[in-house]
Amino acid sequence: MAITRTDVLHVARLARLELAPDELPKLEADLRRIVEYVSELAQVDTEGIPPTAHVTVAHAPLRADVPRPGLSHEAALAEAPRCSDGAFAVPTFVDES
């Protein structure tokens, strides 16, 4: 199943990537070729083979439940493009009308 323009725009939306119109044709062509290439995995018989998510980590180790210092409020905000009232500032995203 070849990748279509609609697929590219759909995943771009999922990935929060606002692609410029002039980027689209090349990206679409590249993705089509790459997806075609990785489709060779379908040839491999994987019946009954468990998937590997992680090679060496058998279980997630737990650390002791003791408080320790974290990032200070000031350090956390130091690199923010915009902040106000001691918080990260972002454009409006709740429609209050």
């Binding site: 759909h10 995943v11 090349k26 070729r33 997806v35 491999v44 994987t46 468990p50 998937p51 060496t56």
Partner: protein, 486 residues
């Protein structure tokens, strides 16, 4: 001989005993960096910080303090590792605002360990953006050039770190290897580069690309230098729950061990069509020397090798699409906010302007293989093939101690040659991806360069050695033998 001509252990010993000043070594490194600026290996040169830390080391020695294992050794750092006193950009515009790189609020664990060992950090090296690439051309700040032929790529993604060592700008360097990003540039620039076993080195403070594959590792001009560096950075870290509690080996002692009776596996899958004949000749010549030295060459088979590229590019991009979701213009880095834009539009505009083409390609591919309807066919399938690739290695290591192969199917290629063809670039990684997927350790050590031809000069060649999880000592034993026999 210049200070930077010394190996890492020699220089550290000379500084610790007061024969060479740390400041003298730092100045030699900073001078070399300035003289080779056209190679574009560095994104940030930490001149003041390096000199200040070198002077502090010299003062402590003068006061009679015992110095660390990397006393006064100039080390270059891939710009994917967080440093509190230097900008960290991953060669991306999205971590650069108004021309100034992001300042992390903490040091990566490996950086803390280098500082504690009295290394002098001379700067941050150029790379493919977010470590995505095999040529160090996908940098928002221009490509890195290969010192053996500046019209060629040094490989990637840790190209700047490889070049810093190859061109004598630093005694050693740190890189990160997700699918070959240390080993391949080491091979293409003629230095030693090691990808540790997954979990051998802490990833805390390494900017994440593909979390089940990423490892930090050393570059050095010789095998002992890489051994000293690995010993400093390896070991459990409570801040990375995937880091192993397995004891750290004695890597320098391993360099002195004989290879007689060692079984070296040779898999013909790594000598497939597409392998440059000069690279093959160099690698096979070294295998013959190892055999003459008493090692046994044993044929092994790794039948799923050819699926490594497809498996890797599904798994790595899937993980990357999740990891790179954090670059949203809210907490750090670049923000693009068109007038009247709402939050979603701000995210979209920031990410479109901040990421380069290859990063976008990989985010889109990763999102696609994880999306509803395609997950089983691509992502889950790739995870199953990953199991088969890992089983190939386990079966082979039942009969051999290490497996030898070329590191890269070709020597250094020309800048631009693969840039417009992402698939051709991905094929560059055919020899290094399987070890990454299996989570085992692997090293690239220089062997005889290719002979000069009409169309290319003599170029470095790397032999790759792979060993089971946490068997880095075996890699050092055989790699040190290659160095002696070269």
């Amino acid at each position: 001989m210049s200070v930077l001509g010394l190996s890492i252990p020699e220089l550290a010993d000379a500084v610790a005993s007061g024969h060479i000043g740390a400041e003298e070594a730092a100045r030699a490194s900073l001078r070399a960096i300035g003289e080779r600026a056209e190679l574009n290996a560095f994104l940030h040169v930490a001149e003041q910080a390096a000199l200040a830390s070198a002077r502090a080391i010299d003062r402590r020695r003068a006061a009679g303090e015992k110095l660390g294992a990397l006393a006064g050794v100039p080390i270059a750092i891939k710009d994917a590792l967080c440093t509190v006193d230097a900008p960290t950009t991953c060669a991306s515009k999205i971590l650069t605002r108004n021309g100034i790189g992001w300042r992390p609020p903490y040091d990566a664990t490996v950086i803390e360990r280098l500082r504690a060992a009295d290394a002098v950090l001379v700067g941050k090296t150029n790379m493919d953006e977010f470590a995505m690439g095999s040529s160090s051309e996908n940098s928002a700040f221009g490509p890195v050039r290969n010192p053996h032929d500046p019209s060629r790529s040094p490989g990637g993604s840790s190209g700047g770190s490889a070049v810093a060592v190859a061109a004598g700008m630093a005694s050693g360097a740190l890189g990160s290897d997700t699918g070959g990003s240390i080993r391949q540039p080491a091979a293409l620039t003629g230095v030693v580069g090691l990808k540790p076993t997954y979990g051998r080195v802490s990833r805390y403070g390494l900017v994440a690309f593909a979390s089940s594959l990423d490892q930090v590792g050393p570059f050095a001009r010789d095998v002992r230098g890489a051994a000293r560096l690995l010993a400093v950075i390896a070991g459990h870290d409570a801040r990375d729950s995937t880091s192993s509690t397995e004891p750290v080996g004695d890597y320098e002692a391993a360099c002195e061990r004989p290879i007689a009776e060692m079984r070296i596996g040779v898999a013909e899958e790594y000598f497939a069509p597409g392998l440059d004949p000069d690279v093959e000749a160099s690698v096979r010549a070294m295998l013959a020397r190892l055999e003459a030295e008493g090692a046994r060459l044993v044929p092994v088979t790794l039948p799923h090798t050819r699926y490594g590229i497809a498996t890797y590019y599904v798994i790595a991009t899937a993980e990357a699409s999740a990891n790179l979701a954090r670059y949203d213009g809210v907490r750090f880095g670049e923000r693009v906010e068109p007038p009247g834009a709402d939050l979603d539009e701000m995210y979209g505009a920031t990410r479109d302007a901040g990421f380069g083409r290859e990063v976008k390609r990989r985010i889109l591919l990763g999102t696609y293989v994880l999306s509803a309807g395609y997950y089983d066919a691509y992502y889950k399938k790739a995870q199953q093939v990953r199991t088969l690739i890992a089983r190939d290695f386990s079966a082979a290591f039942a009969n051999v101690d290490v497996i030898a192969a070329p590191t890269s199917p070709t020597p250094a290629f020309e800048l631009g040659a693969r840039l417009e063809d992402p698939l051709a670039m991905y094929l560059s990684d055919v020899c290094t991806l399987p070890a990454s997927l299996a989570g085992i350790c692997a090293i690239s050590v220089p062997v005889a360069p290719t002979p000069a031809r009409a169309d290319r000069p003599a170029l470095p060649v790397g032999l790759q050695l792979m060993a089971p999880p946490f068997a880095e000592e075996r890699l050092f034993t055989v790699a040190a033998a290659c160095e002696r026999l070269a």
